[in-house]
């Protein structure tokens, strides 16, 4: 027989000012199965909890309904109080008399009736609760970091320094990401390479970090603490164990006229190449689409010159499988290219470049050795126009968000330009100057006040060529939208930051959600900024939304903290509120028909196929099996199962039905 205790909380006056709590307690005492019913001012207070605990012991309660605030607030509190008094914590339920009743209604009899109904529903539910045990799952203390930009590097180093193993997978031949392409960085103007390279080297040297470059994620299976990841190591055509990074091959390769990706097409590279001098690892790859040998079957000069015998033309992609316990997504972002802008000539004017190209021009290791020279004829531009918000904050272009970093790097560009071209003039078209951040506003003021950047508030409507000059036509909205025309030598577009290519595919492999712009979604914008909706998968850096370096690094350390917490236990404890498929006696074994429609809807890939075999090993039936480590208890499968073979523990069909029944048939 059920012996239920009901505990009505006043929540100070939050509930009692609207609901007649003692009346509700009196009526609840008359419900079948209720043996104890009281009201109290603050049930969550220490004495309140003691009240619950004592009642459990004194009245031998089999179930408890605390009628108070939202279970989101205090369910853990009361479940713990019950557990301390010796009752299974899952025999405790909460009726929400605050958010669902007192806060949304007036004080009158109907409100009391509703409160009574809410309590009755939960009493009927708790009578059918099962005593549940938390689920324990083991943890593999190795983290997978996807992407080796500054975010990935920071996350990997922090996790490794906490004493855990890290596997880093980077799709390019070197780690470093966008930061390795930058010249100097706002707001301090440190040289980007100088602060990044030591970190890159640390990654290569840390014994806890295993680095796979030129590699991609092929598949991910499993669940928090227990993922199995397949990594595709793309063939570099180099035996990495033999190559000593001498670089002779890259200097001797006769096929040198290939567009250099790192320099964004503003320089050439050989078919066998290391993307940039500080690359980690310092091992070349052969670009099979360009290499003469792969194209014509003749050449192999690199093979001849290599002293270490490291060239392997017949190398194949290799797929390796690794177990990991947590995953950090650090795949960064990309920017729109000039060809996104019809009004600026679709990228056909050579001297209209994007911000990253400007970074390369300003970089000492770049194609112009740090001199600002325009791509068309190598002249030094005397008048340069920077266009902020190129594509960003422009719903017509489908990018309504602010790319956040452009205001700052545009100010930086104007400063760097002035430092290098003393007699030049920089104009900046902008919408607003967004420089919120430590020393950020000071930085943009410095561009205006010390480095003479000419800020014009307005959008650029078009850019066209006339007599070797780029005519930039815009409006100055601070001067009554007066048209401005500038005859520029070069134009730099601060183009919108967008999701990296392949982000959507990766999200689908990982089963994490992404937004309409294909940026990865955090689990909660405020309280879970580095978690995804999938337990054990985290995100950091610009893969979430455009971010600058400090933010990316902070998020990466946040992720490392989360993962270290996860790895601090050898077992994970999970709430047992998950789906289960019923079992019945043979020959049915289960009412499940094995249609696997549940499998196709489960957003967490938690449903597997289980085979029932007879004693001779013949297949009798296929059933759905729900992996308790993966299931998040969302209930989607319950909704599609026609034979009602699935129940969510704690929210079974029977429990839900009883609640509705208690409401309708009273």
């Amino acid at each position: 027989m059920a012996r239920i205790g009901v505990f009505i909380c006043h929540c100070g006056e939050n509930i009692s000012a609207t609901v007649d709590c003692s009346k509700v307690a009196q009526v609840a005492a008359t419900f079948p199965g209720v043996v104890h019913s009281v009201d109290y001012k603050y049930m969550c207070s220490d004495p309140g909890q003691t009240l619950v605990g004592n009642a459990i012991k004194e009245h031998n309660l089999t179930g408890v309904v605390v009628s108070a605030c939202s279970p989101r607030m205090h369910e853990p509190t009361f479940r713990r109080a019950c557990a301390e008094a010796g009752l299974n914590p899952y025999q405790c339920e909460m009726a929400n008399l605050r958010e669902h009743c007192s806060w949304v209604h007036e004080r009158n009899e109907k409100t009391d009736d509703k409160a009574i109904d809410l309590v009755r529903m939960l009493v009927e539910k708790v009578k059918r609760n099962n005593s549940l045990q938390p689920i324990k799952v083991p943890v593999t203390k190795t983290a997978l970091v996807i992407g080796g930009g500054v975010a990935g590097i920071q996350a990997a180093l922090d996790i490794a320094n906490a004493g855990h193993k890290v596997i880093m997978v980077e799709r390019e031949p070197s780690i470093g990401g966008h930061m390795s392409q930058l010249s100097e960085t706002f707001p301090t103007l440190d040289c980007s390479q100088c602060i990044l390279t030591p970190r890159m080297v640390e990654v290569a040297q840390n014994p806890n970090i295993k680095l796979y470059t030129y590699a991609e994620i092929e598949s991910v299976e499993g669940f928090v603490g227990n993922f199995t990841v397949k990594i595709r190591k793309k063939a570099k055509s180099i035996d990495e164990s033999k190559c000593n990074g001498c670089g002779l091959c890259t200097t001797k390769c006769p096929n040198k006229k290939n567009p250099n990706e790192f320099e964004l097409g503003m320089a050439k590279r050989p078919a066998i190449y290391v993307p940039f001098p500080q690359a980690v690892p310092n091992i070349p790859v052969i670009d099979k689409t360009q290499c003469t040998y792969y194209k014509t079957g003749k050449c192999k000069i690199c093979e001849k010159v290599c002293q270490a015998n490291a060239i392997q033309f017949d190398q194949q992609d290799e797929i390796i499988e690794v177990p990991v316990g947590a995953i950090a997504i650090c795949t960064g972002f990309d920017i729109k290219k000039a060809d996104f802008f019809p009004e600026y000539g679709y990228g056909k004017h050579k001297d209209i470049i994007d911000g990253l190209q400007f970074e390369r021009l300003a970089s000492a290791s770049g194609p112009t050795a740090g001199e600002i020279r325009r791509p068309s004829d190598g002249q030094i531009p005397k008048k340069i126009v920077f266009v902020a918000c190129a594509g960003s904050r422009d719903p017509a272009k489908g990018i309504e968000y602010c790319s956040k970093i452009c205001c700052m790097y545009t100010a930086k560009h104007a400063i760097l330009y002035k430092h290098k071209v003393h007699d030049g003039t920089a104009y900046i078209f902008y919408m607003d100057i967004r420089a919120a951040g430590k020393n950020y506003d000071e930085f943009t003021r410095r561009a205006i006040e010390e480095d003479d950047a000419k800020y014009i508030r307005g959008r650029v409507s078009k850019i066209y060529e006339r007599d070797g000059k780029l005519i930039v036509v815009g409006a100055d909205t601070l001067m009554g939208a007066q048209t401005v025309e500038i005859e520029a030598d070069m134009v730099v577009l601060a183009t919108a930051g967008v999701a990296n290519q392949g982000a959507e595919k990766l999200a689908q492999i990982l089963h994490v959600s992404y937004d309409q712009h294909k940026f990865f979604s955090e689990a909660h914008p405020k309280l879970k900024p580095v978690e995804t909706n999938t337990a054990g998968i985290y995100l950091a850096g610009a893969c979430q939304s455009p971010k600058d370096i400090p933010e990316s690094v902070a998020a990466a350390s946040g992720v490392a903290g989360k993962i270290s917490c996860l790895f601090s236990n050898s077992e994970l404890t999970r709430e047992p509120l998950i789906a289960v498929v019923d079992r019945t006696a043979p020959p049915q074994y289960s009412s499940c028909t094995g249609c696997f429609m549940c499998q196709s809807v489960c957003p967490y890939n938690a449903i597997e196929r289980e085979e029932i075999n007879d004693r001779n090993g013949n297949l009798v039936k296929q059933l759905a099996f729900i992996n308790p480590g993966l299931c998040q208890g969302c209930g989607t499968c319950v909704a599609v199962c026609k034979s009602k073979s699935i129940d969510i523990e704690g929210y079974t069909n029977l429990q839900m039905y009883s609640e509705v029944d208690a409401l309708l048939n009273f």
Binding site: C595, V640, S643, K644, Y657
Partner: protein, 267 residues
């Protein structure tokens, strides 16, 4: 018919199959489903245009359980049923031999699943002009009138569950109407309880019914059940551009999602 017999006999005598599901002469000049286990029996097999029952139903029954390979005389409805059952993991290609019959009654020989899919695409569904007219009449009704029409129509249902028993897609071992903890559907037959049963049935068949019409033929009180399923088929086609019974990798509209699904119903 002779050709069907020839194929069936040969398959049985070569032990490629161990049973054929087809038709034989029944009582009162009617045909009835029959199960032939040896080549001599096949003499009794008949096929004519009264052989309309959806034999795919039997593939999920005990009689087929321990048979390594079952041959089945399959008109387009049966073929579509088998394809749909395969997409729901209920039948396995290596355990079935389909002897295909076109809607004109012509034998098209043995079909593997791939060929069955191709075949099904070329066959018209058995929707008669008067069915179309009926559907249009119902759809022209204002919502409330339409609802009342079905309430009234279903009120005569005696809950014999013949419709369920005859439907090849109603293969659940334990149907919801037999679940009593909780009791989702009332046992007794009454106006609203009947409506609950029929709404549940329609929802469970939405996007899965292959429109064989067997349910309506089985109903002793002449409820045009399959018309409701037809309407749902149309609806699924309009909204999701998919149709049951044409592909063994089919994902039913109500239990699958893609990133291009409509979201216009979220208000």
């Amino acid at each position: 018919m002779e050709e069907i017999k020839k194929i069936a006999k040969q398959l049985l005598s070569e032990n490629k199959i161990q049973m054929v599901i087809g038709f034989e002469k029944g009582t009162a000049n009617k045909v009835r489903p029959a199960f032939f286990k040896n080549a001599d029996d096949v003499e009794k097999l008949i096929y004519n245009d009264t052989c309309i029952h959806n034999l795919a139903l039997y593939l999920k029954k005990d009689i087929c359980h321990h048979i390594a390979n079952v041959g089945i005389i399959a008109n387009p409805n049966v073929v579509r049923s088998i394809i749909q059952l395969a997409s729901e993991n209920q039948v396995k290609e290596e355990k079935i031999t389909i002897i295909g019959i076109s809607y004109e009654g012509k034998c098209v020989g043995i079909l593997d699943f791939k060929a069955a899919e191709e075949f099904a695409k070329t066959q018209p569904k058995g929707l008669k002009p008067e069915d179309r007219a009926f559907i249009e009449k119902i759809q022209a009704m204002p919502l409330e009138e339409r609802f009342n029409y079905w309430v009234e129509t279903f009120s005569t249902c005696v809950k014999c569950y013949a419709c369920r028993a005859s439907c090849p897609m109603c293969y659940c071992g334990k149907c919801n109407v037999e679940t009593n903890n909780p009791q989702w559907i009332p046992v007794a037959s009454h106006k609203y309880g009947n409506m609950e049963w029929h709404i549940m049935r329609a929802m469970h068949l939405a996007g899965r019914c292959i429109n064989c019409g067997e349910c309506t033929r089985a109903c002793p009180v002449d409820i045009p059940l399959n018309m409701l399923s037809y309407m749902l088929t149309d609806f699924v086609m309009d909204e999701f551009h998919t149709e049951a019974g044409l592909s063994t990798t089919y994902a039913p509209a109500l239990s699958s999602y893609t990133n291009v699904d409509k979201e216009n119903f979220i208000k």
